[in-house]
Symmetry: C2
Subunit: 221 residues, 2 copies
Amino acid sequence: MTHECRARILLAAFGSFIIYTTFMDLLPRQIRCVIEELSKLPGIGPKSAERITFHLLRSRKASPESIGSALLALKENLSYCAHCQMITTGDLCAVCADRGRSTSTILVVEEPLDVIAFEKSGFKGTYHVLHGVLSPIDGMGPEQLKLRELIDRCRAGGVTEVIVATNLDVEGEATATFIRQELSSIVPRVTRLAHGLPRGADIEFADQVTLREAIAGRRDL
Amino acid sequence: MTHECRARILLAAFGSFIIYTTFMDLLPRQIRCVIEELSKLPGIGPKSAERITFHLLRSRKASPESIGSALLALKENLSYCAHCQMITTGDLCAVCADRGRSTSTILVVEEPLDVIAFEKSGFKGTYHVLHGVLSPIDGMGPEQLKLRELIDRCRAGGVTEVIVATNLDVEGEATATFIRQELSSIVPRVTRLAHGLPRGADIEFADQVTLREAIAGRRDL
């Protein structure tokens, strides 16, 4: 791409930005403000933000007031569970407060929603929520995660197995390796979720890495 | 589909709803409340709502407080322009307050955002915002639209042309026909936007109705 071509593209982009902001001034300030705030949310661009804002002005089902008050109250009294770091409003989360759960097995997950996914699967141990994964590019080191709390729980004794259930991407794998290194001398068994084909998979469409791992992890019939 | 099959599908759907709500109870009430409120917005399903909510709990760029206050202030002091029914905070909108605009031509649009689109195109007349289209299935009759105000403006005199710029779908066409019938005896000229191929169109991929209309509306070169 030549310099002239680049300069033209930049000028055109700047021009359309100026045109966009100039004509948006025709709308009242508070409407522009809501469009701007909604555009900051993940998966919502300026066009979706406009559509949602005008929907809110008209709709009888969704009102800006009820969403607004819900958002203002979002962080009120939120805290982390003293044991597993799940988001909760009390001292302990519902899982840790349940005396029927086995505390010898800890399932380590990235996010609070992962806990819900495993609860649906019928897991009966306890959890530990890291609130992120190791990702130097996003400024996420071991100190930004709830890793110290996990090591403290394991050091307190009574834990026979830690199952690492981070996502199967680069950051998740790096975090799993880091946790194994940190815990191998404290906990008898550190495991990782099985890799392989998901239930209902069509082998024809499975990717090569999954197939290789499914062969490597094969079991006797 | 047999009755038994239908009953099974219903039972499965009801079952997964019960499972969903039961396990979501593990999250604090205010988080569930935000997820539920966001799910009511157009284009946002339960999964997106969950993602946005947890993004808001962590993000430094988007805060639930700023979006919440923006939404609470959304409808404050909002009113309709006394002339064109555009959403505004004063008595008149910026277009109607501008004495340089021709008031003899009125461009009739469905929504406030349509005004912004026409302002970008350089239109120099005035507008009239209907705030909807005729759609009996959604309970939108002539009384729900700002049609009475349009007729009053035309009756007041000085209007030489009304350009109907509703969308080119069934409801938009029905509304255009209704407006023509209502105004034909009051205004010298009631027109509709040209139908045809949009700028940059590839004829190979144009739909048959557009091509038929482009032929019917052909002009001398």
